[in-house]
Amino acid sequence: MNGILEALAVSKRFGETLALDGVSLQVNAGEVFCLLGANGAGKTTLVNIFLNFIAPTSGEARVDGRDVTRHALAAKRDMAYIPEQVMLYGVLSGLENLRYFAALATDEDLPERRALDLLRQVGLDETAARRRISEYSKGMRQKVGIAIASAKNAKAFLLDEPTSGLDPKAANEFSQLLRTARDKGVAVLTTTHDLFHAKQTGSRIGIMRRGRLVENLLAADISHLDLESLYLKHMSNQDE
């Protein structure tokens, strides 16, 4: 089976720092790949390489079989990006933001009805949808991010600590939305520091350490406790 997201021996050097050191991974349609790792392990760098925000020093990142540096725009059309803080226009409402970004992404107008439906699906009612983003909580912004991603019909979601800073209820709702996307066949690559979240939503779990992918496990094959001790083991070796 061909992966929607594929990293092939990707390395990235920032001056002296080797942020990524030959990382290879694959995320298939309908899979959620959770990337764990200490601060500075290289998670964000990998996400940024998929989005072609930065170019790899060597190796190749592919989306649906296409090299992201050579087919940057086409590759981005297949992906949806949700960072730790989804950045939206403060003076526009959630609805306006969604319609704007969706139209930019798809070249098609997103009718208001449909947009409101999408927002309702992520848990924002019409009153909320019509309020300006500057009045939104962080959780509400993340939900708009998901709505944009669904409106885009992306084959892959790339999420960088999407639930950090969300309260447990909001984080849980968010995970639920990810599972819905996964069930629709989306390939999801998400970074997180939340083991519980990873075990709960992930079909695969990867652990990164100093630019390398040191573990790549099926979530079903490992218990929460085992995952925790494995994770801590890699953390404690961090300074070797």
């Binding site: 989005l51 925000f53 930065i54 725009l73 086409a74 590759a75 981005k76 059309r77 992906m79 949806a80 990006y81 960072p83 803080q85 989804v86 950045m87 939206l88 226009y89 403060g90 003076v91 526009l92 306006e96 704007y100 970004f101 139209a103 930019l104 992404a105 070249d107 098609e108 107008d109 885009k152």
Partner: protein, 474 residues
């Protein structure tokens, strides 16, 4: 790129401007200032033209009705000629506020120049005139900055730029969309100004012929100003695309604005003066005076056999002839000196026009004055015509003296030269001064350099914006 994206991006910018109050406050204020400038200048133009016509009639009338008197006295009193103000002077008065609109034609002297201050004036010094052209040249870029400083940098700071780019929108599409928005908002502000100017100019134009000529000038002016504004839009986009924060780009842009609009005219004037130094008034006058002196002496010796000008060697019954000789000896010298001086100023103007490659306002200023018919060149043409009129007057008067006063002295004794008086017939033989402002076609030829510089600037700005938006790592 897709046709839907550009209007979409542009529309979002408009919503932002409307909601953060910029559209109403900055846009509204700019519009008010510009419309006020149009109105003030229409009023000024109408009043000035009315006064000019009245004065012209009155002055020639008093020349005709000066009664019987000695022709040379009449020549000394002379007459005034008035520079007709072209309809577009209400848009761009050019150097008129500094050159004056009237010239005194009198015996022996070519009138002096009074235009230096305009060349030296920096933007602020010219504020006193509040011309529409000034507002557009100086405040125009500022308006573009107010609307455009954060279009990229602000989004970068907010993180929405990254969000947008992650959708697979190219930076180039984003650039064109934002350029569309900025052009749109500038059109929104400037179109009413263009319409107001057009109406005002129609109102100020006298004949149908003048109308079509003015229409052509107005069209070319619009094209020039549009190129300037467009250049500003792309320059602002380029800076905004490079800067990490909205604040940084605002500071850089205001700095550039100050340098190119406030400092550059001053510096360009100094550089132009350095390359082609012009004499001071005292220098010029004393040089011309000594050249005239030598020429007079030569002419007197040759034609009148006298060593001394206006001395006793030449009998009074030849003073008419002497005046003629004296005048004609002066003409060439004056022509030479004024030509050299004016050529120097033309060269300086050229230098400033080319300096527009660094500070585009300078090229636009030159282009605008030329097409409005208020440039230094127009002033020079008018001064030429005035000097021709002066010589016509001089020649008629001196010829009359030769024919009548000299003869009168033959028969009535030398002193009779001064008692001779001419009458209304002689005054009427001096034609009324009429000056035809040059046609737009001619101005067109002279506006080419300014226009070429503006277009070059526009091309460079577009290139810079494309480069800057493509080459910033996110």
């Amino acid at each position: 790129m897709n046709s839907l994206c550009l209007p979409l991006i542009a529309k979002r910018e408009f919503i932002e401007w409307r909601r953060d109050g910029r559209l109403l406050i900055a846009g509204g204020l700019s519009l008010i200032v510009m419309i006020a400038a149009v109105l003030v200048n229409v009023q000024r133009q109408v009043v000035a033209e009315g006064k000019r016509r009245a004065a012209e009639v009155l002055d020639y009338d008093s020349w005709l009705k000066q009664g019987n008197r000695h022709p040379h006295d009449a020549a000394h009193q002379g007459m005034y000629v008035f520079k007709p103000s072209p309809p577009l002077a209400l848009f761009d008065p050019g150097i008129t506020p500094f050159s004056g609109a009237s010239i005194w034609l009198q015996a022996h002297q070519q009138s002096e120049l009074r235009f230096r201050p305009a060349q030296d004036a920096t933007g602020l010094q010219r504020f006193g005139t509040l011309s529409v052209s000034w507002v557009l040249q100086v405040l125009g870029p500022l308006i573009v900055i107010i609307f455009g400083f954060n279009v990229f940098s602000g989004e970068r700071e907010q993180g929405t730029l990254r969000q947008t780019l992650s959708l697979g929108v190219s930076t180039r599409t984003l650039l064109w969309g934002k350029a569309l928005a900025l052009h749109g908002v500038m059109a929104l502000i400037l179109l009413p100004v263009l319409i107001a100017t057009t109406v005002a100019v129609l109102y100020a134009s006298v004949s149908a012929a003048a109308l079509s000529d003015t229409a052509l000038r107005l069209l070319l002016l619009s094209v020039g100003y549009a190129a300037y504004v467009s250049m500003m839009v792309f320059a602002v986009l380029a800076v905004s695309a490079r800067m990490p924060t909205a604040r940084a780009s605002l500071l850089v842009l205001l700095g550039l604005w100050f340098a190119s609009v406030m400092l550059a005219p001053r510096i360009a004037a100094d550089v132009a003066e350095y390359l082609d130094p012009s004499p001071s008034r005292v220098e010029f006058n004393s040089k011309m005076a000594s050249a005239l002196d030598a020429a007079y002496k030569r002419a007197w010796a040759k034609e009148l056999g006298s060593e001394k000008r206006w001395g006793g060697d030449v009998p009074l019954d030849r003073w008419g002839r002497a005046l003629q000789v004296d005048d004609h000896a002066g003409y060439t010298i004056m022509d030479q000196h004024f030509k050299r001086l004016w050529d120097t100023y033309e060269k300086q103007n050229r230098t400033q026009e080319w300096a527009g490659l660094l500070a585009p306002m300078l090229s636009l200023r030159a282009y605008s004055m030329i097409l409005a018919g208020t440039s230094f060149y127009d002033h020079r043409l008018f001064s030429h015509a005035a000097e021709r009129q002066r010589r016509v007057m001089q020649d008629i008067v001196s010829d009359d003296l030769v024919k009548n006063a000299d003869a009168h002295s033959h028969t009535h004794g030398e002193q009779a030269h001064f008692t001779y008086q001419a009458d209304a017939r002689l005054w009427a033989s001096v034609p009324r001064f009429s000056y035809q402002t040059p046609l737009a076609k001619e101005a067109l030829g002279r506006s080419v350099v300014g226009f070429a510089v503006l277009l070059t600037g526009l091309a460079l700005a577009i290139g810079a914006a494309l480069w800057a938006s493509a080459h910033r790592p996110e």
